[in-house]
């Protein structure tokens, strides 16, 4: 009898609790995804509907004004603090009334004497101004947008790279434009000032290892606004290089150690990472 009761209780709890737990976990995942996607996350109290908090923001039935109670995530450049009034363009204005307390997951919209944002999602805060219990946004790490590249960005970059290499730069020299590619080069403030780095390969995290242990990586040394965020390499520099076959400089090949090999480029900020990111990349490659 006892065992039957236990069995029935087990069935019942499975039927009742597992979906709730699943929903809870799903909610947590959604919140975490929203928090990652959002540039500005704050908890606040709705003060006005159908209006805006500063001149220059287009007023509509979807715009509401929210007084900030807690700022959970924002870029350092943005001035936003407790007590500020924020205009939020919400998805469903009928979900809000004056006095409603919620955590808003948003993207920046208009910046003037105040901040206007567009809602990506929200959680109601039934107990007051604080974020909902268990909300991932309550973590101090979200207080400001981390400057490092996000896992999602990194995963995308790794996916779009032809090669991901751990190695060390052994030489850097100005790349001489070959005659075959000269026609495409003109003088401009945005000229890349191409340089070529010889990369000694230590290991390959993605892609097929090229012949030999060295390869050519082209990069722009220019300080022009178009290229300033591109990695600039120096001799003896070590790290993880996210590389693409060169489709930019005009010559897809390079000469390394007397051999003609494929040339690669490393162009975007974050296409070079320190060795300390190795475990992170390996983990992302498994997913």
């Amino acid at each position: 009898m006892n065992s039957s009761l236990s069995f029935l209780a087990g069935i019942l709890s499975t039927v009742l609790l597992v979906p709730s737990a699943a929903r809870f976990l799903e909610g947590q995942n959604n919140q975490a995804a929203l928090a990652k996607q959002s540039s500005i996350v704050f908890s606040g109290t709705v003060s006005q509907l159908g209006t805006v908090s500063f001149a220059g923001v287009p007023q509509s039935p979807q715009t509401i004004v929210v007084r900030v109670d807690f700022v959970l995530k924002k870029p350092a450049a943005v001035s936003l603090k407790k007590g500020d009034n924020v205009t939020v363009e919400v998805k469903d204005p009928s979900a809000f009334q004056p006095g409603t307390q919620a955590t808003f997951y948003t993207e920046g919209w208009i910046f003037g004497s105040g901040v206007a944002v567009k809602e990506l999602g929200h959680d109601f805060n039934p107990g007051g101004g604080a974020p909902a219990e268990g909300s991932p946004t309550g973590q101090p790490a979200l207080a400001q947008t981390p400057k490092q590249i996000s896992d999602q960005d990194l995963q995308n970059r790794v996916a779009s790279s032809d090669l991901v290499v751990i190695g060390r730069i052994t030489d850097v020299h100005r790349w001489t434009i070959p005659k075959s590619a000269a026609a495409r080069y003109h003088v401009s403030e945005h000229s890349a000032d191409w340089h070529e780095a010889v990369l000694q390969i230590k290991s390959i995290l993605k892609g097929t290892k090229p012949k030999g242990n060295r390869m050519a990586v082209r990069f722009p040394l220019s300080r022009d606004v178009a290229w300033v965020n591109s990695p600039k390499f120096q001799k003896q520099q070590e790290g993880i290089f996210l590389l693409k076959k060169d489709q930019v400089s005009g010559d897809p090949t390079a000469s390394v150690g007397g051999y003609q090999v494929d040339a690669y480029t490393c162009l975007k900020s974050g296409d070079w990472l320190p060795l300390s990111d190795e475990a992170r990349i390996r983990s992302l490659l498994k997913n």
Partner: protein, 507 residues
Amino acid sequence: MKALAAFWMRLLAFTLLVLTAGILLMEKHAPPKTGVGADGPPSARTLGSVYAALTRVKLVDLIPASLSGETNQDSEPFLAVQTANPQVMVASAFTPNPVSSSSNAPIYVSEDGGNSWILNAITPVPRMTCDITHAMPTGENHPRGDLHAGTLACAASITLDESESNDVSSSAVMNVQSTRSNVDQPFVRALAISKTDHIYVGVNDFNQPSGRTATVDVSVDGGATYKSFSIEARHTAGQDGPSVRPAVAPDNTVYAAFFGWRKFNGTSATSDVVVVRDDAGGTGPRPFQALRDPSDKLPGRLVVKRTSIPWSNAPTLGQERIGSTLSIAVDPHNSSTVYLGWADHGQKGDIYTLHVRRSTDRGLTWSKADLPQTTISNATNIALAVANNGVVGLLYQQLSAGRWVTHIVQSHNAFATAQDLILASVPADTPKQQFLPYLGDYDYLLSVENEFRGVFCANNAPDRTNFPQGVTYQRAVDFSAKTLTDGSGNPVAVSIDPFYFSVPVIP
């Protein structure tokens, strides 16, 4: 009787002495002509005679209060004023999207004549443009916008977008009307003619054959279609210089100036300074061929032949690069009068020397030498405009005694006499450059009704002595401590900001 006369003489002398002392004392103790909303009299320095008229100058740092924590190098400014409603303006700079690297690059919008500005991310370019200029004619009756922009996107290949917004206050991303790669430095001018926006975009188009790259893109249907015209008729050193500058008059006269590069050695260009003209808005059978040079009968008047222009894509004039500053402006009520300004090696010992010349016969002949006192040492970012009353305005930035000094000069007689106001004088060695250009490859000046309006970039330290005409900050500042703050009282590092100004046109 003699004694009485002497008494009156002494009394008169004493009275004059007291009056003079009183005036001097009042000037000494006058409140500073700076601060939020302050309008001060000019600290006018003259090139010739002094115009005694009092001046009301507006100078506003464009960074909004809600971005008080930013430290970007917001260089290379530009300005557009809505023709039908000059209260509406758009400005731009190398300002990144403040919250996202994948969202659109922003513009600054003012709807109150430049007193306040918001940042609205509506350009078609991700994060930050690599060049942006724009204009706001109102041929299509879009009173809150009708912005036509030329933008370059920073990517592996640099791409030009020619795009339009019908409402610069909306959040709708600008509609791209034309796009192509392999071009440089789009420079947009536009005018409403017969209820249609005529748009002229100077570009250095490397797709043009035979290295004749100086080009004007012309649209006479509000940007729906563009035609590209090479305006270079001569052999080049493989290309022309980056700057191609159109100027449009209401009578459909269009001028364009460019650097015809004849030789280039990597550090210096041997260049003609060329002006072309079109009398039918660029719509005739032979566009931009109305002017021919007497020396070779080819289209394009050679205002200056084979001058040496330094080219340096590294900090050279202070922390700024140099190589292609150029401006042309036409009198809106007399299209025969046109001014041209550029910089070259110039005088011995100079790094970069500005020059201004004038034609009063539609570009056929030009002043043989620089206009009086417009040969300006170690200066860049020249911008010219002509007001409705024929007064010419000259904006430039000069490196002087370790400071970047921004001047707005006005003259009604081709600089025989002029009023010269210093808008800003800021340290040239701070902040350290984040990239090039440091201040910009250009700034901009427009005439609007009875004002000159413009934009320039400068060190943003809130020090009243840096801005002799007064200044307004939207971002949080502590003038007494001369520091920027993030809105919560925390200090923020000095950076380069764009500044908007307006100055009344002299009589």
